[in-house]
């Protein structure tokens, strides 16, 4: 599958993968998309006097790809560690696959694959022996499965080499292989692109797309917002431990009734629009006119301008990108809470 990205454009690939995920009859027949696979309830964690996570309520549904975003120190990793039973919440609880993870960790966590921050591996063992060490812990995984996951992450050729000789990207992929060992229902990936060079990020992106296409429920925290926007169904944004927004990606990037118009001389149009009660937010952005429509429809905006003798060359719905939204919702470092 990795060859695909070198032949197809990323956009085309993403489109087909998303199509496969959402339209496959087999998939639709077996999934109950409304089931919460991971949910947090009033989840809080306090380190001394410093709150790391505050009263967090999240819900990740079966079959979706859920993005978990926030600036550094926002509480993402702390939340993920609580979801995996690595640290105890100060208040609230986490349900994974319908059960309280603190009380039933041995029942639910074997059904979850996780990669938390940088890949943690045994450097003196080969890639295959690393997998074997984790496989034993899981109660035994057939050798054929080791071959399968090594193939999946593209490490079959280097499986006999010691992990200390691996690049960061290879370690990250081996970490994903460990997470996939027993074909988990839910994958939790914390900053899977952390520390990777551009080539490593591309490798990781391709791998994630494969996983998404295979129908896993994926909970991913990442700083690569363009990737999150392409891959995720829904996102939650947290800042200083608090949830500031949880919505579908489509809702977040929706136009909200604004349009981008291109024309030779936009200034008269801008003055005209600003004089209207519905057009006060009109503005120029990189020489393009951004404005609302009197009715919410683009053709009425074009008609309104045309009635005043102003003709637009093109008009498009204005879509915001996730990065723009993320920056608007999260305060810069040092700002008061």
């Amino acid at each position: 599958m990795l060859w695909v990205s070198t032949v197809w454009t990323p956009e085309l690939l993403t489109f087909f993968l998303r199509l496969a995920r959402h339209k496959s009859p087999a998939r639709g027949a077996t999934l109950n998309v409304n089931t919460a696979v991971l949910s947090t309830h009033g989840l809080s964690k306090q380190y001394g006097s410093r709150p790391a996570v505050r009263d967090l309520d999240l819900e990740v549904r079966r079959g979706e790809v859920f993005g978990f975003l926030g600036p550094n120190g926002a509480g993402k990793t702390t939340t993920i560690r609580m979801a995996l039973g690595l640290i105890r919440p100060t208040a609230g609880w986490v349900e994974v696959l319908g059960r309280d993870v603190q009380r039933h960790r041995a029942d639910v966590l074997p059904r979850v694959g996780a990669l938390v921050e940088t890949p943690a591996l045994y450097p003196y063992l080969s890639g295959r022996s690393n997998l074997r060490a984790f496989a034993h812990m899981l109660g035994g995984v057939p050798d054929a499965r080791l071959d399968e996951v090594l193939d999946l992450v593209g490490l079959a050729d280097r499986q006999r080499d010691r992990v200390r000789t691996y690049s960061m990207g290879m370690k990250q992929r081996l970490g994903v292989a460990v997470a996939l060992l027993n074909d988990p229902e839910l994958l939790i990936l914390d900053e899977p692109a952390n520390g990777l060079d551009p080539a490593g990020i591309v490798e990781m992106r391709d791998l994630l797309r494969q996983l998404v296409a295979s129908g896993k429920t994926v909970f991913i925290s990442s700083h690569v917002l363009a990737e999150v926007q392409q891959i995720c169904d829904r996102v939650a944004i947290i800042d200083r431990g608090e949830l500031v927004r949880e919505a579908t990606v489509a809702d977040l990037v929706a136009s909200h009734g604004e349009f981008v118009l291109r024309m030779e001389n936009p200034e008269p149009a801008l003055a005209l629009l600003r004089a209207q009660p519905w057009g006060s937010a009109a503005r120029l952005d990189d020489g393009e006119l951004v404005a609302a429509s009197p009715t919410g429809r683009g053709r009425d905006l074009v008609r309104f301008l045309a009635q005043s003798g102003i003709w637009a060359d093109t008009i498009d719905e204005r879509q915001r990108n996730l990065e723009e939204i993320f920056l608007s919702l999260t305060a810069p470092i040092g700002a008061g809470s």
Binding site: R81, M137, G139
Partner: protein
């Protein structure tokens, strides 16, 4: 729905497995070069020590005059070699096994798959106990073969050994018991040091430095007694773990003179019960520290 060609039931066991965790820990021990370097070093020291035991004094005369006397001296010598060699091995391997999980961050990968904290600790104890038992079995085989070879060389047969009185075999089992206790204490100490420090440097440093420090402390206590003219310093040595472990074989075999290696408590008349109580208390403290800290502390690595 799956990245696997194999049936999901095969790939998703209901719960993590304790025997599997032990296998995993044994794999981690067995695949380290350091483990085998330590075994090789131990083997070399054992060989040198056996030669030294045979060459020191007039062992052949002793053997011919009283096989039992020779046997007890031999037993005492090999026990000292074993307790030191196995102690170094288990302290280093044990503290590294536990602390590397924290140092590499693999502890979070292991726990995140459902293995319990105490389950992992128990698996580490078990794997170290298995490694210690294998070491003891290997050492016993070498020591026995060496003894039989000596008997054959000096007497022409192994009959002086096979005709030893039953009391000699009781002493043998007491020495095996002491070796076992020493190994258990080393496993508990090495593991506790690693759990407390959560780093390889701290874990190995404390584990390896502990016994030299508390053996050396006997000298310090003797000096303090001379300087202050207070017996409290000397009396304190009866509660030092290392000296008590050194003294244990003598306490258990009170009917004949057993040489203790290194330092022993500077108090006369210590009996086996006192030794067991001191060893038991230290072992409990090491175990309790490891269990409580493993169970309660968050994994932030």
């Amino acid at each position: 729905m799956s990245t696997a060609a194999l049936p999901v039931a095969v790939l998703r066991p209901a719960r993590p497995s304790f025997p599997g965790a032990v296998r995993s820990e044994l794999l981690k021990i067995g695949r380290q070069w350091l483990t085998w370097w330590l075994v090789a070093g131990f083997a070399a020291i054992t060989a040198i020590a056996l030669v030294a035991i045979v060459a020191s004094g007039a062992p052949r005369d002793t053997f011919n005059a009283s096989p039992r006397t020779f046997y007890l001296a031999y037993l005492s010598g090999v026990l000292q070699v074993f307790t030191i060699g196995s102690g170094v091995f288990l302290l280093i391997v044990g503290s590294r096994l536990v602390s590397m999980e924290y140092g590499n961050g693999t502890i979070r990968m292991v726990l995140a798959r459902g293995t319990s904290r105490l389950g992992l600790l128990a698996a580490q104890y078990t794997a170290l106990a298995i490694a210690g038992a294998l070491l003891l079995a290997g050492f016993a085989a070498v020591a026995t073969a060496s003894l039989l070879a000596i008997s054959t060389a000096w007497h022409g047969s192994i009959s002086p050994i096979t005709s030893l009185p039953a009391a000699a075999w009781t002493d043998t089992w007491l020495n095996v018991l002491v070796a076992g206790v020493s190994m258990v204490v080393c496993i508990l100490l090495g593991t506790a040091a690693a759990v407390v420090g959560r780093s390889v440097a701290f874990g190995v440093g404390v584990a390896v430095g502990y016994f030299p420090a508390d053996n050396f402390a006997v000298i310090v206590m003797a000096l303090l007694t001379r300087i202050t003219h207070q017996d409290v310093w000397v009396n304190a040595t009866q509660y030092f773990l290392g000296p008590i472990l050194n003294y244990l074989p003598a306490a258990l075999q009170a009917d004949h003179r057993v040489r203790a290696a290194f330092f022993t408590p500077l108090v006369q008349g210590i009996d086996a019960t006192h030794c067991w109580v001191v060893i038991g208390v230290y072992s409990f403290v090491f175990l309790a520290a490891a269990v409580a800290l493993t169970w309660r502390r968050d994994v932030l690595h």
